[in-house]
């Protein structure tokens, strides 16, 4: 589903974000992407969603080479991907329903379908009673659940999670992980995190990044800081 082939990313000031990184993630696989700050985790996620382009190497997403010069399907690519951020990126002037609906509105779905799907996702993340509530009235854990619902809506094939438990306490982090467990095997999930407890407990595939290089890629791996 996602293939990195000798991908290098150099930033304008000359520092290297990624250095000849290669890996392959299969369809519906759950992969932890770990490493210290500056190791290149977010760079990998940004390259997958075409927020930036690699200096060299090839990236294939859903069998499409997104690094080709003539690639102009960024909108289509992003519609296959749901993104979850550490800082939630929930719009404060929209209620929970409207925030989740954004994921479908941008693809031009009719309002009856949006209503139906949003309700389904709200139930899935245990927030069915918060439909008309505004973000300022929710806790951090609830906001992250809203972000997950927004990422899942519209049957997106790939979920990219950038430190989704980074701003949460351990108990809430585990609640979030329970939701990820529910979608495991149904979506391709790339989960960037620092959280050693979660990585070591779940025993999933772990890609360890260090100084822009792929340090380790283990099936049922663990992670030590």
């Amino acid at each position: 589903m996602i293939v990195f082939d000798k991908v290098t990313k150099q930033f304008p000031l000359g520092n290297t974000g990624l250095d000849e990184v290669s890996f392959e993630i299969a369809e519906n696989e759950f992969v932890f992407l770990v490493g210290p700050s500056g190791a290149g985790k977010t760079t990998i996620l940004n390259l997958i969603i075409k927020e930036s382009t690699p200096t060299s190497g090839k990236i294939t997403v859903d069998e499409i080479d997104i690094t080709k010069n003539k690639f102009d399907k960024t909108v289509d690519l992003r519609r296959k991907i749901g993104i979850i951020f550490q800082d939630f990126k929930i719009l404060l002037d929209k209620n929970i329903f409207e925030n989740i609906a954004l994921g479908l509105k941008v693809v031009g779905q009719p309002s009856y379908k949006i209503k139906e799907e949003v309700k389904k996702q709200l139930t899935f993340v245990n927030l069915s009673d918060k439909e008309n509530v505004f973000p300022s009235q929710l806790s951090a854990g609830e906001l992250q659940r809203v972000a997950i619902a927004r990422a899942l809506i519209g049957n997106r094939k790939i979920i990219l999670a950038d430190e989704p438990t980074g701003n949460l306490d351990p108990k809430t982090s585990w609640e979030i992980m329970k939701i990820f467990k529910k979608i495991e095997g149904k979506k391709t999930i790339l989960f960037a995190t620092h959280n050693t407890d979660i990585v070591n407990s779940l025993q999933k595939r772990v890609i360890v990044m260090k100084d822009g290089k792929l340090a380790k890629d283990q099936k049922k791996g663990g992670y030590e800081v």
Partner: protein, 297 residues
């Protein structure tokens, strides 16, 4: 509509600034448009009047006038000549002053002169014809329209160039101000735009609310500016009627139709309204488009 109202509430001062600048531009543009159409129509009117009119003394015999007419016709320099007898002149006078019985009572056909209305084949013959007529016996006055037409052409050209320059400056200023204000609005939605891009929104989807809001402002400001101008025209209509008495219609001739400017009519007002609306919407949406495009790059 709800989204537009929400956005206006969220940024009331920027919205007010957009509305005021658009209103100012549309008001001035419509005033310029109405004034120029009046000037051009008046110029058209004057140009279609006889180029030389010769009035004869009361003692002049009609045979003397006809002789002069025939001489002019045979000169090859005249396109047409219309003879207006004393009786014809009185009929015209009566028709023009039918609403003013006092003026009708004071005048009889005796005091109105007979005249010839002469249209030259080429404007260069006009001075020659006028000079020739002045030397003839029985001629009271020769009115040579060329000077009036030339003056009007000069005035209208100066007005046209001034209006174009002023309009260009106004457009440039308005678009720059609108781009700056809209950029503020776009910047306030920076996070939302970025999120929409990551969710796979197209450029059109992101542009759409800004464009709709811009169109709303263009529409609202053009309606209000047009309403104020219409009321002003209605208010000044009696004064204009006084000034333009004797002129039945003023209009602009295009290939397929004639736009009648005076008397003020529904068709002219509708044309002005449509142009004002279209201009308002085009200018506001263009500025909005440019502001967002700069941001989406």
């Amino acid at each position: 509509m709800n989204e537009i109202l929400k956005s206006i509430k969220r940024t009331p001062y920027q919205s007010l600034a957009i509305f005021l600048i658009l209103f100012f531009t549309l008001f001035l543009s419509t005033v310029i448009f109405v004034s120029l159409t009046f000037f051009y129509s008046f110029l058209n009117y004057v140009e279609t009047r006889p180029q030389v009119t010769v009035y004869f003394q009361n003692k002049a015999e009609s045979s003397q006038i006809f002789k002069l007419r025939d001489e002019l016709t045979s000169s090859g320099k005249v396109l047409s000549i219309k003879y207006i007898s004393k009786d014809d002149a009185f009929k015209i006078y009566k028709d023009l002053n039918k609403d003013n019985p006092l003026l009708l009572e004071m005048v009889t056909s005796d005091i109105l002169p007979a005249s010839l209305e002469i249209y030259a084949k080429k404007p260069i013959y006009l001075p020659e014809i006028a000079e020739y007529l002045k030397k003839q016996s029985g001629v009271d006055e020769v009115i040579f329209q060329k000077d009036i037409v030339n003056q009007l052409v000069t005035i209208t050209n100066v007005l046209r160039i001034t209006a174009i320059l002023f309009f260009g400056f106004l457009m440039f200023m308005t678009i720059i101000i609108l781009i700056v204000i809209t950029s503020f609005k776009v910047a306030l939605k920076k996070e939302e735009i970025h999120l929409l891009q990551l969710l796979g929104a197209t450029r059109n989807y992101i542009r759409s609310p800004f464009m709709k809001e811009a169109a709303f402002f263009g529409l609202a400001s053009s309606i209000i500016s047009f309403a104020i101008i219409s009321l002003t025209i209605v208010y000044f209509n009696p004064f204009l009627s006084g000034y333009l008495r004797g002129i039945p219609t003023l209009g602009l001739n295009f290939h397929f139709f004639q736009l009648v400017v005076w008397p003020i009519n529904l068709y002219f007002m509708l044309t002005t309204a449509i142009l004002s609306l279209a201009f308002g919407i085009i200018i506001s949406t263009s500025a909005s488009y440019l502001a967002i495009e700069k941001y989406l790059k």
